[in-house]
Amino acid sequence: MPDLAAFERLADIVAAGDDGAVVATDHADRRSEIQVRPSALVETLDRLRSQGFEHLMSLHGVDYYPEEPRFGVLYELLSFKDQDRLTVKVRVPLSDPIVPSVTPGWPTASFQEREVFDMFGVVFAGHPDMRRILLPDDYIGHPQRRDFPVGGEPVLFTGNEQRNPGWWK
């Protein structure tokens, strides 16, 4: 994790030439995080890559329900050289859940962006293959959303198909 001075320098690099790019910064004990505008995401990651954060180790979604903007997508960057980690975060609202895809620049994001789409319904614009990955293609809903109930999904067994005609309705 970069120390406070290095972290502020990185935030300045991200914000350079684009005042609104950095929305918030957070530097805690074991975690430093830069929150950026979705439109500035690809540029931010490229700039951080040139600062040594060459590895995108993880990409995952979070649902901040009931806060708005509701969804967050987190990019866990890693620098082999400095053995540092840095998190980049974007937040998007439910009404417009579109984040630019970073798969063209970081191939490792491919499966992980699909998983976030699958679980949260955040669409990654520019992803070459934006489909569900873990759930069936005809599944309705995005189960990792906080307002998606646990359970309550009818399970089809041979028995209850007979006992409960029209179970699918």
């Binding site: 805690a28 590895h55 993880s58 995952h60 082999f80 053995q83 191939p107 759930l135 646990v150």
Partner: protein
Amino acid sequence: MEVSADDEKTGSGGHAGGPDREAATGSREQDAPATKGERDRGAKIADQTSATTPEADTDGQPDEGGGSSPSADPQAESPATATATALQERTEREAEWEELARRYRADEATIDFSTQLGAVATQDEAELLTINMGPHHPATHGVLRLLTTLEGEVIRDVKPIIGYLHTGIEKTAEDKAYWKVIPVVERMDYLAYYFNAMAYCGAVEDLLGVEVPKRAQYLRVIHLELNRIMSHLVWLGTTMLDLGAISILWYAFRERETVLDLFEYSSGQRMHTRYFQIGGVVEDIPAGWATKLQRFLDEMPTRLDQYEAMLSKNEIILQRLKNVGVLDARRLQEWGVSGPLLRAAGVPWDLRKATPYSSYDDFDFKVPVGTIGDNYDRYAVRVAEMRESVKIIQQALDGLPEGPTITEDRKVALPPRHELATSMEALIHHFKLVTEGMRVPEGEAYFPIEGPRGELGCFVRSNGSSKPARVHMRDPSFVNLQAFGDMARGEYIADMIATLACLDPLLGGIDR
């Protein structure tokens, strides 16, 4: 049959030699356009019929007409008319097949492979075959489906399709108190349960700001490394089984059983032990456990020597492993691959060394690396890692400090049993922890550790309640699987299975 539609009707008269042949094949030529192969066959049959009709019909001349053999119904019709009818039926059937084949070709031509295969399928000369492997081929190490495009026996593209083992563990975890999540996340990567628990506990400890006692850290290291040996042993046995080396499976599983016995001894369970708790480990190791572990540590290097004697000089194994599934470090890193796969390509990146957690910096061990990143390197790196793990466990066992095995913070860990009888305070804490669980301050944490397959990171978000608002496991198998297409492309299909095995994907971890 290599025939195209424009071949039809060209030189149709050239093959019918005699007048009787003209008569025999004439009716057919009006019915349907004949292809070259068909004409040849027709001519052959015509030869046979013209040879059989004049004289002998009793010598059992091979008649391909099926039901109308001369011996079966010699009285019904004269042989000449029988064969003519048979020929008529045959030509009709063949015309039908021809039509079906033509329609199939037309259908096939409309399939847009380019969306599935990228640039590969656009090579005109390549005759590609897309086949489906899975979702449950035994050698795929789980419920994995591979959409494989072959040119002959060579893999031109392979797309892993996953999700068959998705159980929604991350969602389930959001509905449980923090300490009840541990057994759930343990079941993600089912060969690395200590690692899953470690990553999760580490993330929650980060959020809570809890200090883990030294003895607990050492006990964690011992169990993590035992788990790493166990996971690599399963990998070794099953991978070599895929290559046809069957005996190694029994030897590897024999040692794995010893490790599982140790787990059972220390925690009561062979798998999914729930031994790690937030703030430490659930209890101290039982009496006699250290002796048993020492016996294992003494014999394990000899066992590894035996494995290597069986495998590293085995010509067949070497030929199957060397220079197969090569992928260079740069490409691997683009795919986000970590762990033994990346180290096999020569990158000495190990989180135990780079960002030590749980007192790994106290131990002296090496990071084995390979050279070119082929399957042999992957094998060699994993075997060498087992040796290093033995060394780490030995050091941790020798230097095991005295002290508590779980944090003294009563808001996080259960009070000792005997305190419940004497202390009201302890009783209240116990009650609160068991019923509601601990409240974790708001925040987010990502805790990466070096799992047996690469970086295993756990992301936990807390909203201040007693249940996590989000638990996400960055599972190394899930990320590593993306590189599989690059590894397998251009290999033989048999080597694809070996490469997949050397990738060591764990479907429980991939699908979660």
